[in-house]
């Protein structure tokens, strides 16, 4: 299941709903991505907010395609991607990935695979606001290395 929404989500409620009534799930790995202020690491001004823009229709289709790919690669009992768009402040939850499986290795690997893809290849564009003003974040080459270890190409969106 995938959802692209502007409102926040509750990781605990999503986890419970995803495996409700199941007796065959031993491991649920949940990734929660938060808006992080990178200013302390560099010479930038403190981040006041971030706005994520998406391509309604294509973004959902690509998320569904990569989720299907994860389910082909690993024996998952259930999976869920929830991605927010819109304006968010540091500390806010931005993305949720939940992978449930009988065993922990599959759940961990599938979750890491999805997160690597989402953080680099998902069709979102990031506008950062700070005291210096607002600017669009450029695509980062170093992030591609994390995705490359899975040898995955961006899924083709539905036509």
């Amino acid at each position: 299941m995938i959802r692209v929404q502007s409102n926040d989500f509750d990781p605990g409620a999503e986890q419970a709903a995803l495996v409700a009534g199941r007796r065959d799930v031993g491991a649920v790995v949940i990734f929660v991505g938060l808006v992080r202020d990178m200013a302390p690491e560099g010479d930038r001004s403190a981040l006041s907010a971030m706005t994520l823009e998406h391509y309604p229709g294509m973004t959902e289709a690509q998320l569904a395609a990569i989720e299907a790919e994860a389910n082909r690669r690993w024996p998952l009992s259930a999976s869920l991607i929830v991605h927010r768009y819109g304006r968010m402040e540091p500390g806010e939850r931005i993305v949720l990935v939940v992978c449930a499986s009988a065993h922990r290795a599959a759940a961990f690997e599938a979750c890491a695979f999805l997160v690597d893809w989402l953080k680099t290849k998902a069709p979102f564009w990031k506008l950062e606001e700070s005291a210096d003003g607002a600017g669009w974040v450029e695509a980062r080459a170093e992030d591609d290395a994390a995705v490359d270890r899975w040898a995955v190409s961006p899924p083709k969106a539905a036509e």
Partner: protein, 83 residues
Amino acid sequence: MRILYFAWLRQRTGTGMEQVTLPDDVRTVSALVEWLKTRSPGHAAAFRELKTVRAAVNQTYVKLDHPVADGDEVAFFPPVTGG
């Protein structure tokens, strides 16, 4: 034809979506870009540096030589930055 713009292409063109009627001689994304650039100074600015512009036709990533036809949904955006 529906044209969509995202991120700074949306800001420069001043619109997120526009409906256009394609001239007969515009048959590729590339030709579409050249034609869109004539619509306003904002459009010209949006397409000034084509190496940072990506395109999708009917929600599938394409190269600039990809064909376009009336009824297509064509989107222009910078390289995705992920979530």
